[in-house]
Subunit: 184 residues, 2 copies
């Protein structure tokens, strides 16, 4: 499969069957995240996995409210992607020019994991709307770990991906040309 | 190729041959970025491509100083990854809980592009140390576009990837267990 076809095949899935995700498959996905690159190789990510018992449903509730993310009740496995915020080097780096290298790194790791999942036939959805406080209490997350994203994982009900709605290529890409000199 | 092997094969490359990257290959890589997912599908990224003439070398200079990134003199192509910061919806979303969804999205798009490049035999390096001001002036970047990352692209001199230095799996991954009830 060409990489671009993998990209086209991956989509945010919000309808899941009740098929569970095997722990060994979760480990492969997590390994793809672990091996991701990060600024200065700081690896700011910490992954908390929920895939067993009634904790899964309780975790889903931490992403719900105001009509949001009801589909998470169907999700069989979650990877809670946290930023380890207590690294001084990272904190310093984060302060330059409004950049948050740690959050860009978190995005890189999330991309690795969801693309890896797709190659294994596992669907996913990145969730950015959740209660950090509720997740923290339920899962007993350590201090210094800030929840940045939640990756929902499971087997989707749909066989064919939707057509992607994206801005046109020319609206987001500019090939910068060298200015011509006088007389050229 | 299994995805995990692609992840292992990709590494930050800082030694390039003088082989240029074809524009059509750059377009494929950019397409992988364009199709990336983002929070609320906002697509906060804008890509500026430099791959021709003396602009390439001048762009490299914007990432140098204090001994940093000298290798960029060898790089035949750059994708300047900017965040479009003037989107109100994005600005609101960015303000919740210290999250920068836009920067996480930028990370996701960067991961798509560098992994895509690797499948095409093209090496890359994400650069986070640069002068936004110099890049802005040189490339005439529009207001509202903030440079977040630069993706260097080219053909590396080394055939075999280095062994990755990463934290151990158990140091960053926690499988959260449901607490056992009394008597179980």
């Amino acid at each position: 499969m060409r990489f671009i076809d993998l990209v086209r095949a991956r989509e945010s899935c919000r309808e899941y069957t009740d098929r569970p995700v095997k722990k060994e498959d979760l480990c492969t996905i997590l390994e793809a995240g672990r091996l991701s690159p990060s600024a200065c190789n700081i690896q700011p990510w910490r992954f908390f996995v929920v895939h067993e018992g009634d904790l899964v449903g309780k975790t889903a509730k931490c992403m719900q409210g105001m009509g949001m993310n009801r589909f998470t009740d169907q999700v069989p496995a979650f990877i809670i992607i946290c930023e380890q915020t207590t690294n001084l080097k990272q904190t310093v780096a984060s302060g330059i020019g409004g950049h948050s290298f740690a959050q860009m790194d978190i995005g890189i790791a999330a991309a690795h994991m969801m693309l890896c999942a797709r190659t294994m036939g596992i669907d996913s959805c990145i969730i950015g709307w959740f209660s950090d406080k509720k997740l923290r209490e339920l899962l007993n997350l350590p201090n210094g770990c800030k929840v940045r994203l939640v990756l929902a994982l499971g087997y989707g009900k749909k066989a064919e991906p939707r057509t992607k709605r994206r801005m046109e290529f020319d609206d987001i890409v500019t090939f910068v040309e060298t200015p011509k000199k006088k007389g050229e």
